[in-house]
Amino acid sequence: MNDRTTLLLCITSCAAAVLILLLSRAYPSFAPISLIFFALAAWFCTTSQRPGFCLVIVAATTTLILAFRFPYLTWGDPWQDYESVWEVIVQGSTAVAGYRLQQPVFPVIVSALSGFLSIQPMLVQKIIVPLVGSLSVSILYFIGREYTDRITALTAALIYLSSIPYLHWASQGVREALGIPFFLLSIYFSHRAVRTGRMSDILLSFCMITGLILAHHQSAFMFSVIFPVMTLAEIYLFKSNSGSRREAGIICLILGFSLLLMLTWWRYRLSFIYVSFIADINKITPFHSMPAIVQVIGLFLLFVCIAYLPSICPGVTRPIRYLMHWSSKQVWILQVGGFFIAIGGVVLLVTSLAGYSFLAVRYPVPMILAGVLILILALIGIPEFLTSKRFPLLLFAAVPLILLGIGLTRALPGIELLWNSQIDPLRFLGYLWPPVALMAGAGIIRLFRTERHWQIGVTIIFLFMLTTTFPSIVMMGTSFEKGTIWYDNRSLVISHPETEIQAINWFGEGKTSGTLTSDRYAFSPARWLNTRNSSVKEPIERPSPNSRYEYWLLTTRMDTYANFVEWITHIPHPVTAGERQMMDEHSVRMYDNGDAVLYKTRGSGQN
């Protein structure tokens, strides 16, 4: 079979998977069949001699799984970004007055595409944003090919595109979906600029960093931490002392540019992030009396001194290089140590949150198993990365891993920018996963020596990862019974039923006057009404006729699973029969479509 036939078969498999996903909107039991076609597409990727285009097709299709499977935006975060799109469209610009999130890449591209193509912003958000997000896979493939080899890069790309730290965000159509490709390409061009020293590469890295800062604040922060550590460690470990002066200069230039632009943007447009950042700096450094910005400049100057040190004082790198040389001969220490660190990390994740184990309850066992599998494969692949060419990728992984560790162990309590590592590790793992996927790719190649075994192994792992990435309702078509291994309460809230949207649309027609609320999952699709002369607020109390909110939306799903005042780290409590009865008897039951009911309470309107 030649490459063109393989490509055609890959496209056909993806097209079949898409059609089945569309069909599963009405017939959910069809959904598992799409997995067979996804597995076939992955198989054809592995058989192709030039798999780049096959990979693009598979990545694009998998990121659109949620778009094809459900008619509306999913979860809650995409609705927040949808609200920001409407804020920009209604205001006509990205000015702070009307657009609060101030990460303008997302609303600008959605609004511009919607305007130029004359289509609804929601459709653009559902389709185009995930497609842009899927570019991350191709970037990872390219980086992998440059630093490792084609087979490792392909294996890593297939693992990456099916794993949850990437696919969870890319498939949603949120800011993170745009942040990750910008982040990866910024790392690539900046590292390339340090290697080549060419002005063109430096300018390209500036261009990407600008986009990154305007796209997503956390991705920009992660870049400004990962890039300098990764490149600085390279200087200390591998570079000749005479040539390191120029490289140190380029690292400082790129870091200086990114810090200057990032902090300026945050200071004047993203003030709530800037305030958190300054508070974090004050907590970390011992010089509290100094203005925080002076401390930042001081830290940067300290970094410049460290970067230039090897070229001024060559002996300083000797003990570090000796340690590196010794550890490369004792790989088992890294592997065993890494294994215990990984297990410790999982235990910490499970137990660190007092009262409610976020990971154990929210994430089902198969999903955790998929993560553990990749970590083990990555540890098997580590020895392949102890060369000067591949070592930067290990350093790339080390930085977010250490930050995650600091966050989980609360070694630096109260650091806002590490908040996500403690509460929602999934937001943090997105930056750790590209190099981990490359290491896992190398691990798979070490395990499956022959080409046929490798193809079978990669396809099975891809299929397992893809199946466990989403709640079972997506790829299995059912949410399973409580108590079974596949049960995942996220299945109940990933999609928003037509009746819920109908009730929200009725509320938005303008007959009402006051503030609407609901549980956290039904509140999300309503929040874009904030820009349409209505008011929608996040719930801070349970449904009651004496609520401070004038309007309440309750659906039948909330009798089984609902989250009002509890935050994501607490056990949710569904609506009780008593609460439902109180609402029915002591407020106006003003709208009913069989599933969603709107109530008008006595609401004081104070919130």
């Binding site: 610009s93 890449v105 919607s114 191709s138 690539y188 990407m208 003003m590």
Partner: protein
């Protein structure tokens, strides 16, 4: 010169002047569309291409000259992401100049001012890129490319046709499935006050007074459907009405209750229950209600 061993027709990036020249024509026709209202769709198409591809591609051509087929991925992705960055900077420029970049009347649109900024900026970048490309001594010329590509293009025809057939088949099937699996809306029943709003519902009346409310129904049932609406006061039916609604038909009508019963201080619960068909001895299909205190 061309290395025929590694030459591939999909390496169109080897002749950036072709892409840049086409881009320049698109930019100019877009700018023309800004000034001639009938040609405005051309401005939209040009704005789309420049905003999401061309401006970034021009920068990539200048800073990241395409040398090996492996770099195609970076060229494409870099072009898209750079363009998105410039597009965002364009929107920020509009804001700085106090101009709107978007409007929402009647549907979301990009303003002419923002489109002009995108097109002017892209034209400038494309011009610079063309100068840079023509100043390169090792470039592949367009005639050279097509002379070498002739044989390869012929071998691409079957896969191109097969690909087109798959796309057509896929689009047709997807459209068919989408139309067959459209989300099913449910029939809605709502209760408004006498002014037709869902605000300030009456909370009290004197015993024996009259209460008027507005009931709305939107049918999402297949075909014509008969509904029965009953009005219950303290679980006693005081009023009923049969109506027939077509699919998607909306009706709103006042319901008046004379002589509201009850003692002073008592809260009377009034329920409006909708039954499918004309049999009220079944479970209500939809229901709304309100509580009125007797003064």
């Amino acid at each position: 010169m061309i290395n025929t061993e590694t030459f591939r027709t999909d390496s169109l990036f080897r002749i950036p002047e072709l892409i840049l020249f086409s881009g320049m024509i698109i930019c100019l026709s877009g700018l023309l569309g800004i000034f001639i209202p009938t040609l405005y769709p051309a401005a939209c198409v040009a704005g789309l291409l420049c905003g999401f591809w061309l401006s970034g591609y021009a920068v990539m051509t200048i800073l990241f000259p395409y040398t090996a087929s492996g770099e195609r991925v970076v060229t494409v992705i870099g072009s898209i992401l750079s363009s998105i960055t410039f597009l965002t900077l364009g929107a920020l420029t509009c804001e700085l100049l106090g101009k709107e970049a978007f409007t929402d009347t009647p549907v979301p649109q990009v303003t002419q001012f923002f489109t002009s900024i995108i097109l002017l900026f892209s034209t400038l970048l494309v011009l610079i890129a063309l100068i840079v490309v023509f100043s390169r001594s090792d470039r592949t010329t367009i005639p050279e490319f097509f002379t070498e590509a002739g044989a390869e293009i012929k071998s691409q025809i079957p896969i191109f046709l097969a690909g087109t057939a798959i796309i057509i088949l896929f689009c047709g099937s997807a459209a068919l499935i989408l139309s067959a699996t459209e989300p099913q809306e449910a029939t809605e029943l709502w209760l408004l006050n006498a002014n037709g709003t869902a605000d300030k519902y009456p909370t009290s009346v004197h015993s024996g007074e009259t209460l008027t409310s507005i009931i709305g129904i939107r049918s999402h049932e297949e075909g014509n459907t008969t509904f029965l609406l009953t009005t219950d006061v303290q679980n006693r039916t005081v009023n009923s009405k049969t109506l027939e609604l077509a699919k998607e038909e909306i009706t709103e009508f006042p319901v008046t209750i004379d002589n509201i019963p009850g003692n002073q201080g008592e809260t009377v619960r009034i329920r409006y229950e909708l039954f499918k068909g004309d049999n009220e001895n079944t479970t209500p299909y939809r229901s709304v209600s309100e509580g009125i205190r007797i003064l």
